[in-house]
Subunit: 235 residues, 4 copies
């Protein structure tokens, strides 16, 4: 079972690169299926190149437990703190996906513009590291304390933006997190475009909830396509 | 004859993915050539992966008739209701093509900006499911009654937008529907871009009619190119 | 010599598709090297699929002279009329390249924003078929008379826009015409983008002239790259 | 050691094309590792096609020293003058990357919008050749004197825009220069997009410095991915 999860996690890395959510940076993790106080994440490397053999195990304080002594991303604390704060979360993505960044540095709020992104719900909070660590940081969530500050801003939401940096997306499975990562970026593109045409009718809260529940039943459909696309790419 | 139509329908799925009209979701159908009270559509799956063997038969109330008992898309009622209301329609596309969505959620109206999209005609109606089913739906056209409400908004037009969801495009053949699907998306991109440069001179109604008639004579030309592109992609 | 020109013309078709200037429609022609009252153009087909064997010969009134009796594009008169009016022109492109269309339907004028597009010169005229043929045409330049009206608007310029339709670009060789086709589209993209940031400092007329002369010395450099890209694509 | 540098330089050409920084024009150079008064740059050709065998040696006055008598780019003086003025600089890129050009022709200033582009620092100067050579040039930096004028405007910055032309980016290694070239273009895209959503919170100067230092520790990560992508492309 674990080996299947590691393969899905490697594949999810490739899908997220292929769909424009990750580039040379960013990461996705998955909680350990039987030891919920641990999660899996690739060692420090470009997501496009991750294989199951590159994945290490980390605990909820961000401590790496790896027999080979390998290191992982400086920002593993994004993951450890969110898994600690949110027992419902089984997978976490941190990305710099490009359409989302403008919403993190302006007053504009990311909201669900269509039925594919109902999971954005009523609010998409913005984490500004300046409020936790001042105005001269390197913007990285490089400690458990900063991870906890981010997790607090995230609260019960599925997505939080990070000012001048990117965003974090969570799900109850790898497939749900990947779906949300792809459609968070898509919603940002559509919302930016629509905002230039006129005032936008967003989903109501009830529509957001209903569409999110509905999409959860169809996660396999895009996954199969993204999987094929990612596999074609790496041939 | 039927087997050729099923091959064309599978190919149309691939073309629409390749040209950016469909992604992991959306569907295209074609009316049965000799039993006009039936239509063909793929079973519930990502359009990029559809083969002729994946296609099922549905009646104009949205009932699936399949010897293997396979299911198709929840939103098959978009197709069944339109075929019922519009005897002239032989093919229907439902998509979430990205440039069109902003026009469905703002006051901006999609209108023909150049000779390739004269089929948009004078008006492109917008269907808002809230008017039929209230403010807390999952936005899916998941019953014959909702399909009929959509078909009523579509009226005699070739394209109708769906608020917060996507659009529907119809044609008197697979090739015409695919042409319209591709150029509806293209028109939306061009119109959004032009609207930022200044006031737009749209086609007159007479120009829209004349260009639409003219393009109907040249449907094979882009089809051959799109076919080659789609086949290259899936090699 | 003629066979080399036919190969270059077929290649130019593929390059222009590959670089986003042509899609399933549009065409490029070249004047006959030894019979200046004739030009070569593909038969009526998608540019991506053109081979040297698909090219026919046309005279300056738009009459096709083909032993096999093949037909070419309805809009061959764009080419015939321009070759007739402009003895300096050796190659003509008609395209619907997408970034240019918005400039043809708004008051915004296309002007050279950087040194690659100095050939645009001081003015880029706009041809509106309504002034020649009224408000209910199919927008096609489908007669020698309409071609002459277009050629008159083009005058001594290198590029003319066509309202609600596309544009025409001319050069003293296939390579120069292709260069200009690619960079007309590029300039339109850059100008649209820059116009949202603030008032634009365009090239002066003297800069436009000097940069255009300078680029004419380097036409082989991008051609070699575009050639390789187009050949990779069609493998 | 030199042969490794030539291979990296050829690869850097391909990476920059593949990532959209260079097209048929533009160039990257590297200072000679043991003779700091010389640098390496490709002969005059499209960057996508450069191999280690195409690289020539140039001195800091822009004089080519090549046993085979090959010539290089007219604009080699961009490189020679910057290496002369900036002993810290080991690699120089000159590009026409598209998102940057609008910032060079409007009053909008390019500033770091996220942690990947802290190297832009507090100011991104704009070089206008009109101030050095008047209003009728071909905009090329085609002499050592013009190169020195550009180097003076660049000053201690990492990036300078060139009005109506492009930009120059410098680094203390090929990898750093390539990283900066890619993320200068990325920052321009993000900043243009964000400027339409509202007022932008840019990085503080201290954040710009800290993020730039931090990214310098991770230059290998995207390089490995860009390398693989470039190699896949040229297969």
């Amino acid at each position: 079972m674990t080996s299947e999860i590691l393969e899905d996690l490697a594949l999810a890395n490739h899908i997220l690169v292929n769909e424009g959510v990750l580039d040379g940076f960013g990461h996705i993790s998955v909680r350990h299926p039987t030891h919920p106080e641990r999660f899996f994440i690739a060692r420090s490397m470009a997501p496009a190149l991750v294989t199951p053999e590159d994945i290490v195990e980390v605990d909820l304080n961000g401590e790496v437990h790896d027999a080979q002594g390998r290191r992982t991303y400086v920002e593993r604390f994004i993951h450890s703190a969110i898994y600690k704060a949110r027992p419902d979360v089984m997978s976490v993505i941190h990305s710099h996906s490009p359409a989302v960044i403008p919403f993190g540095v302006t007053g504009a709020r990311l909201r669900p513009i269509c039925h594919m992104s109902g999971f954005l719900g009523a609010t998409t909070p913005v984490f500004d590291i300046r409020h936790s660590a001042g105005e001269s940081t390197d913007l990285l969530v490089s400690s458990q304390a900063l991870g906890e500050a981010l997790a607090k801003v995230l609260g019960p939401s599925n997505v939080a933006l990070m000012r001048g940096h990117g965003s974090v997306t969570v799900g109850n499975s790898i497939k749900q997190a990947v779906f949300r990562g792809v459609y968070t970026e898509s919603n940002a593109r559509l919302q930016a475009e629509a905002s230039r045409l006129g005032e936008i009718t967003f989903l109501t809260e009830a529509e957001a909830k209903a569409t999110s529940d509905m999409n959860d039943k169809h996660l396999d459909r895009p996954w199969e396509m993204w999987k094929r696309n990612a596999q074609n790419l790496s041939r």
